[in-house]
Symmetry: C2
């Protein structure tokens, strides 16, 4: 592939060719970044190519992806999710240009279909037959969805506490599901050991260098949807650090090929109980495991496996970090839904909760262009959503009973 140069280690900067290595750095075990020949891409790709491109999926960006042959790939339509201008919410918050990117509209109802697709395309190019993944739930339900119709065997490691909707997706799509009596971190470690022992293809975020490449397509879409203008700030939920570093990679790619003329600030949004990356950002830059619990299961990570890449993204973008409480997260679910028609799962609304906190702290100027990334659909975790609202009014099917409610509540 002329467009791809190879890999570069996030930690020690060692460089490798694509054939040289499989997952992590040979020298220091650091995570790898895929590097591109930006000069070659710039010569061969124009903005006008996109105006004419009718492939409304992540594959419209194949020239910027580490995939050679997309003849075999997941059959479902991934990406090109809506970016809404949230006028009503913006007015309420005093932000003139507020945008919501609704990633819950992907096939398995979360952003994880993007990285899953690139990893699956890579696995197919390598001729792999068994693909595995550790996940808090969404990456796995996505992988099971994407591989379902491809004849790949999929083996999933999740913590046994994953929300039932995500487990149901896994089982319905036919994955082999191993629920680990422990945390996501335990599931992650066991999945790596299994890969080493059995030689399965491993799609886990914070290990496989291709997931970041999938996540970067969010940034491509945001810029294209804003007519190749770069936003000022992007609020992103952060668990293992792979999403924020992926989105950053996307903006950097576009900047390097001259499609955008500046870079945005990225805001790392975590749950205050599980915010190892934000703590490291605010102190000495060293990632240390945290202990805690959060309702935002998708970003419930003790030791973030892509933490160093995430810190580089926050620092590189001159961004900042906001941690929010579970109470703020729960309150954010109906508020976002009622102002924007977008129903997010707990981790999906963390960036919105963080935006509100950032406004309170005076960190937002009213004329900035702000994007809030909603990473997953609220239908993924109904139990948490129900904590944010009351119950229906129950009545007999009778106009007299109804009339009591109407005169009491509606007038």
């Amino acid at each position: 592939m002329k467009k791809v140069k190879g890999y570069k280690c996030i930690i020690c900067d060692s460089e490798f060719s694509l054939d040289d290595i499989e997952y992590v750095c040979k020298n220091c075990k650091g995570n790898l970044q895929v590097t591109y020949d930006y000069h070659f891409i710039k010569e061969n790709l124009k903005k006008s190519d996109f105006a004419e491109n009718k492939d409304y999926s992540i594959w419209r960006y194949t020239n910027l992806l580490p995939v050679e042959n997309i003849s075999r790939k997941p059959i479902v339509q991934i990406g090109c999710t809506p970016l809404y201008k949230a006028e009503r919410l913006g007015n309420k918050l005093g932000i003139k240009n507020l945008y919501i990117k609704d990633e819950g509209r992907n096939p398995s109802a979360s952003l994880k279909d993007r990285p899953g697709a690139i990893a699956v395309a890579n696995a197919l190019e390598r001729g792999e037959k068994i693909i595995t993944c550790a996940s808090t739930g969404n990456a796995a339900s996505s992988l099971s969805c994407l591989t379902a119709a491809l004849g790949l065997k999929t083996i999933i490691f999740i913590p046994e506490t994953s929300p039932v909707a995500k487990i149901a997706q896994l089982l319905v799509f036919g994955a082999i599901v191993i629920a680990v009596k422990g945390t996501y971190d335990d599931a992650f470690d066991l999945c790596i050991k299994a890969t080493e022992k059995y030689g399965w293809y491993n799609r886990s975020s914070g290990y496989n260098p291709y997931t970041r490449e999938g996540k970067k397509t969010c940034a491509f879409e945001i810029c294209e949807q804003l007519s190749w203008e770069c936003p000022d700030k992007v609020f992103i939920s952060v668990g293992d650090g792979n999403l924020i570093s992926g989105v950053w990679k996307g903006f950097v790619d576009l900047f390097e090929i001259g499609f955008i003329d500046r870079l945005p600030q990225l805001v790392s949004c975590q749950s205050e109980n599980m915010d190892a990356i934000n703590r490291a950002f605010k102190s000495d830059g060293v990632i240390r495991p945290v202990k805690g619990e959060t309702i935002a299961d998708s970003i419930s990570v003790s030791f973030p496996h892509d933490g160093d890449a995430a810190l580089k993204a926050i620092n590189g973008s001159r961004g900042f970090a906001i941690s929010v409480s579970d109470e703020q997260i729960v309150r954010a679910i109906p508020e976002l839904a009622r102002e924007t028609s977008v129903f997010g799962e707990p981790s999906g609304v963390v960036p919105f909760a963080a935006l509100k906190k950032a406004i309170g702290e005076g960190k937002i100027k009213e004329d900035e262009k702000i994007v809030v990334l909603v990473s997953g659909n609220g239908l993924k975790d109904i139990n948490s959503a129900m904590k944010s609202v009351g119950q229906p009014l129950k009545i007999k099917p009778d106009l007299i009973e109804l009339d009591k409610i109407v005169s009491r509540d509606f007038v």
Copy 2:
């Protein structure tokens, strides 16, 4: 509106102007059909207009919709859902051209966003402030989603047995939710009475003539996605009869303006416990209430309020009727998901279960172009999905435990 002529009663053929009437026929209380000036539309609309149209939502078809001004409308992107060619499933079933239309990709995760959008646009044009709807769940959760960011007050009537995910959507989006201690039919009747008493705008299917107009956009998309070729058969889940009659209207519209040169057969797919329309179709054409229960809650309707329009669609298309059991529905959920990557809710997979039955009965030729409409996302009803699959394997996070499973199950 030059494009729209007025209303015509489904039962007695009485005609009315748009200003004349609100919901049903003045003469016989029959449901109304919106009629168009096809000559005018034909003069003003070409297929090539669509090739250039970059609005990938139902509003690309505004020239064929009873909406004048779409400046105020729901902000979310509705329609233009994927139509997948299901090669793998087609091979398994012996059908060369099998397509799956995934309506679970709509904003509130079901097809109901289409009719909801047209009704909401109509309510806004009329300056209405309160909108109500009776629903088995999806029409209501859609309406709540669509009205959330528009400042409309939304009052919902559902049976108290609606799946929790749908109730959660309603509450999160901020609707007033009245759970009726009774059936969908009880909720429907109470909603009509409330409309008559309080003057609210009523969006209920089988009453409001605009819902059929929203549902017809499915047919528009199917034809456009097939390069303006008409499929041979479309399998459609049928509850109150409004969807199949809406889809039929869409094909007829396209035929009348010369965009397609033939019409498809529509297959009415019901649950065998709640199949009033199929029973009427197979006997004397008279709709009679049925009693029963079905796991397919979205089509659990005793007396179908758009039954006559549905029968006209089945007969007019020279289609047929297939009823399936709950057991067949439950089995269809994982089978469809594993072969096509599309996870449908119980009523969403009814058409697929019916297709399998139709194949068994010799009703399908292998070279026919078949479309299966999956009307809602499986995440809408996780409890039913879990009935179709087993449970995860639970282990300690330990390679020795894993190895036992691998050597037992995977080799």
